[in-house]
Amino acid sequence: MTFALPALDWWAIAPMLVLVLTGCATLVAELVRGDDAGRAPLAWLTVAGASVSGGIALGQWDDPARLAFSDMVSSDRFTLFFTVLFLVVTCVTVLFAFEQLRREDFHPGEFYPLLAFSTIGMVLMAAAADLVITFIGVELLSICLYILVGFSRRRREPEESAIKYLLLGSFASAFLLYGIALVYGSTGTTSLACVGRALGAPGGLVGACEGAVATGSVATGMLLAGIGLLVVGLGFKAALVPFHSWAPDVYEGAPTAITAFMSVGVKAAAFAALLRVFLVAFPTLAPDWSVLLAVVATVTMVTGNTVALFQRNIKRMLGYSSIAHAGYLLVAIVAASHAGAASLLFYAVGYAAMNLGAFAIVVVLGRAGEERVAISDYAGLSQRQPLLAALMATFMFALAGVPPTVGFVGKFYVFSAAVDAGYVWLALAGLASSVASAYYYLRVVYQMYMVDPKEVVASHSPHRWVSLVATVAGFAVIALGVFPGGIIGVATASTSFVR
């Protein structure tokens, strides 16, 4: 038996390596600096590491697409696109968390390493060329999140949320694993491209598929069950209905920084994984699963938008809103086309801008020990903080899909991809539910602009970095709505593996 190390293509996973180093460095730095001294340096160390990682990812843009480490991960533009997106989300989360941790007087020692590691999990989900890696990515992300969700010294809700998330997350992981096993059992391989080839998909980046059994594009019961279970497992992370029930509770209970991280980053990661799995491994079975996903998407959009109407807590409202947006994103996968995939990437970017912006405002308005997350807390904000109110209004209108914001353009791309794929009814259902959504987004704006403040709140100076995030996000929301061409071009180039 000869033993040969596989080709070690370190460069292909360099962005992740940098994140590993960053996580370890923050861990060690915390030990060196002691308990309370190293707060700001840890945050900046994380941001610096993420920036280096992102820089490397950008530098790899023109590298040839390839599989690395025995065909376990793909290093292609899709991976890089999401890597950069995740890193931006991580940096923003660091800025949010820095503000919150300072306020809550909480020890950041483990926070930043866990954040860095969870980012690695997300990158793995996008980069996975093998279901084994998808699973490890999901688990790495989940383990870190279980802790991050419960991260608070002063309040009890985070812990409750964390336990809920842990129990249900483990449940979902079991479904995911079972699904992977059934897919393996049906095709003899866990490599996405090899599964695709076994099911009759043409070409693409395929490694050595030893053991894969060509079954043709006929879905057996076992395979369909496996696909269904993958939908359950990944749908949990994406908060698709009916696997969403944890989301509002967890979003409400978690520290706002982590809520933002989950609603944007984790969701994008789940969709990156869904897209990889369904459009690399199962493209030939699209007729079998697209109707299923279309139904799930419809139920998700309708449920999210309806239940959001009844929320009084802004984090909970944004939680249901993010469920609705998961429905829109799923529409892009239903289209099962290159256009659909590109529109998903575009929407992910746009959604990141809108939602991170909204959460930035939520963070800024919070105060020590008191998050101020009732929607009625926003009453009269336009008089106290006109700029913040204007930004929040922009984000709300964008989330509602009012042109000329990125929210409108994103929905336009997603739904027209669905229409092109023949799903006119799905597009109409999405439109109807998104129109209804205006009602609850507008309620926030109404509070800010048309209701007098309940109490005179001593205006405290908002954290400059978080305000900067909100401003940049506001700018992006408009700019991407007027000039979407650049991002859609990049998104198209990043999804060339979809046919």
């Binding site: 249900l168 449940f171 369909l224 209905v241 109707v291 336009f412 027209s416 439109l431 109807a432 048309m450």
Partner: protein
């Protein structure tokens, strides 16, 4: 100047940005100069561009100005533009930009007097400029997607301006109502947008089937829509029209929108934004020409709205509400014209209405300004003695709207009547609509006369408040608009009145390249029929006005028999035909019930059942507490049920 067309929308936008950014630091004079100046400049550029367009000769076609690709697919050189940011100047949009910038300038100027004492002066001007920009995007867009951007933006500005005085609860609520109601209409437009995309793969107006305009995207081999889609698209657009242009069943937001400042009512809720729906139909009329059924629905909506709104106007006591219902009614006339396929006539009425209705609103604003914010007609009277300029210009507007021969409203309203009658010769249903419209003409004369008699004639009933005339900054626009209200109709004098042959008026000929219905009826009546229609409408107008004179100028009490007779009608009209109640009972409450049911079920199909049991046992309070407690076991069961459903349907749906 056509090359500079982009400046037309950009100038007001620049004004809005400048005012939003630096408004607080600018003095009032500077704010007025920035706000009014930018729109006035836009008017100058627009006028120059239209002159250039006219110079292209009688066969003038649309001129497109391409700015930048907006919505595109693909990357780099492979990118395919789906919808560009591009402007289309043709006779129809030329008319619209002149109206928007021209009347917009006057209303900006007027506002400097009307809003003089207001705290949010700069904010007001910023919104007003932003609105002007949005409206210009709406009318200049060269494709449906960009038009929709303008469509939504004007809705946003309308919301902001209605709720401008948000200290008044009613104002804030009215803003909400306007926005939400319009979202319902927007759904129609969006759905139509995607159906157009699904069928023709383009949003460009040029490439619409049956378009009279040439375009690079035109393709004779284009697949025609199926009959169902050919009917669905116009009907969905009609839903948008009923929202934006306040038609039945979505018209109730417009009277409530009167909570906004009066110049806003004049600009947005009378002259420009609410005509957006009319413009939309005229713009994409080939889609309507394809479907006579949709046209009939359109025409019926218009005629019925005109009638219903006019009846409601007869019993309103708030001067602005009378005018609001009058606007709804007049928009109904336009929509009737559209339904009859007379797009040119509808656009003509749109223009004349912009003049006289802006005049009436600004006049009403001057009155309100002069009597210490009193809007109740019962507390006015005899104002002609205190504010002669306002009164006389208002009287011009009154004569114009009721259609006294020679003034603008006479020509445009009669043109619509004539076209509706002509359509009736081929499609008898339109004869009924014509009849309804004719009756409405009489009611219009009645309620407008009532308004004038109650406000300006008779004795002053306002008690201790001493009315005073408005400042010059408000009077100048009134005078200009009064001149327009008289003269604007002269471009549409029908040939038979001038003793000439032919049928099409000058304005219709001008608009023809953009609005001529293709492949459908082209109105031809003989001149004697036209004389009869005109005679009838003038007679009915005089009758309506005379009746108002008897009722409101006559001495002594009205006979109790008459009072008894009209009482049930008064109740119906005063109750606004109970449309709001119908919305509540038929749409809003059922929807709310469904939504709250969904919300209670959401916590899990399982949990929903559990919730019902618990609710039964311990009451609603416990239910809510339980729903929020987030019961993990319930969630897990939900997931399991979901997993069963997904795996089972993966099977069933393959």
């Amino acid at each position: 100047m056509i090359d500079l067309l982009w400046l037309v929308p950009v100038l007001p936008l620049a004004g809005a940005v400048a005012l939003l950014a630096g408004g607080r630091r600018l003095g009032r004079g500077a704010v007025v100069a920035t706000g009014t100046g930018s729109v006035a400049l836009a008017f100058v550029v627009a006028a120059g561009a239209v002159t250039d367009l006219v110079a292209n000769g009688p066969a003038m076609r649309g001129v497109e100005v391409h700015l930048f690709p907006w919505l595109a697919w693909g990357s780099g050189s492979d990118a395919v533009t789906v919808a560009e940011a591009g402007l289309l100047l043709d006779p129809l949009s030329a008319l619209m930009i002149l109206v928007v910038t021209g009347i917009g300038t006057l209303i900006h100027l007027y506002s400097s007097g009307y809003m003089a004492g207001d705290e949010g002066f700069a904010r007001y001007y910023a919104y007003l400029n932003l609105f002007t920009f949005s409206m210009l995007v709406l009318v200049l867009a060269n494709n449906l997607a960009l038009l929709f951007v303008g469509w939504e933006l004007v809705g946003f500005c309308s919301w902001a301006l209605i709720g401008f005085w948000f200290e008044r609860k009613a104002a804030a609520a009215a803003g909400q109502k306007a926005f939400i109601t319009n979202r319902v209409g927007d759904l129609g437009v969006l759905a139509a947008l995607f159906l157009v995309w699904a069928n023709w793969g383009t949003f460009s107006f040029h490439a619409l089937p049956g378009s009279t305009l040439p375009g690079v995207l035109d393709d004779p081999a284009r697949v025609l829509a199926t009959p169902l889609v050919a009917l669905a698209i116009p009907l969905l657009l009609l839903l948008g029209v009923t929202g934006k242009s306040a038609q039945i069943p979505l018209f109730t937001w417009l009277p409530d929108a009167m909570e906004g400042p009066t110049p806003v009512s004049a600009l947005i809720h009378a002259a420009t934004m609410v005509t957006g729906g009319v413009y939309l139909v005229a713009r994409v009329h080939p889609l309507f020409d394809q479907s006579p059924e949709a046209q009939l629905v359109l025409g019926t909506t218009g005629a019925v709205t005109a009638f219903v709104a006019a009846t409601i106007a007869t019993v309103q006591v708030d001067v602005k509400r009378v005018l609001a219902y009058s606007t709804v009614s007049q928009l109904g006339f336009m929509v009737l014209g559209l339904g009859a396929g007379a797009y040119g006539a509808a656009a003509f009425h749109l223009m004349t209405h912009a003049f006289f209705k802006a005049l009436l609103f600004l006049g009403a604003g001057a009155v309100i300004h002069g009597v210490a914010s009193q809007q109740d007609l019962r507390k006015m009277g005899g104002l002609i003695r205190y504010m002669p300029v306002t009164a006389w210009t208002f009287i011009v507007g009154w004569l114009a709207i009721i259609g006294v021969p020679g003034l603008s409203g006479f020509f445009s309203k009669d043109l619509i009547l004539a076209r509706a009658f002509g359509r009736g010769l081929v499609d008898p249903a339109f004869l009924v609509l014509f009849g309804v419209a004719l009756v409405t003409v009489g009611i219009t004369a009645f309620y407008m006369s009532r308004l004038v008699f109650l406000a300006f004639l008779g004795e002053y009933r306002g008690g201790s408040v001493h009315p005073h005339e408005a400042p010059p900054s408000m009077l100048v626009p009134l005078v200009v608009l009064a001149i327009g209200s008289i003269g604007a109709g002269w471009v549409g004098i029908p040939p038979f009145l001038l003793g000439e042959a032919g049928h099409a008026t000058v304005i219709e000929q001008f608009l023809a390249p953009a609005t001529l219905a293709t492949g459908t009826w082209e109105g031809t009546l003989d001149h004697s029929t036209e004389w009869i229609i005109t005679g009838l409408s003038v007679a009915i107008t005089l009758a309506g006005a005379g009746l108002a004179g008897v009722a409101y100028l006559g001495e002594g009490p009205i006979s109790p028999v008459v009072t008894e007779l009209v009482a049930p009608f008064r109740r119906l009209f005063a109750g606004r035909w109970f449309v709001d109640e119908a919305h509540g009972a038929l749409v809003i409450r059922p929807l709310a019930r469904v939504a709250s049911f969904l919300a209670s079920v959401d916590v899990g199909v399982v949990d929903g059942a559990v919730a019902l049991v618990v609710a039964g046992v311990r009451g609603i309070g416990a239910l809510l507490a339980r729903l929020q407690s987030g019961y993990v076991r319930g969630y897990a069961v939900t997931m399991l049920v979901g997993a069963v459903a997904v795996v089972a349907s993966a099977w069933a749906l393959r």
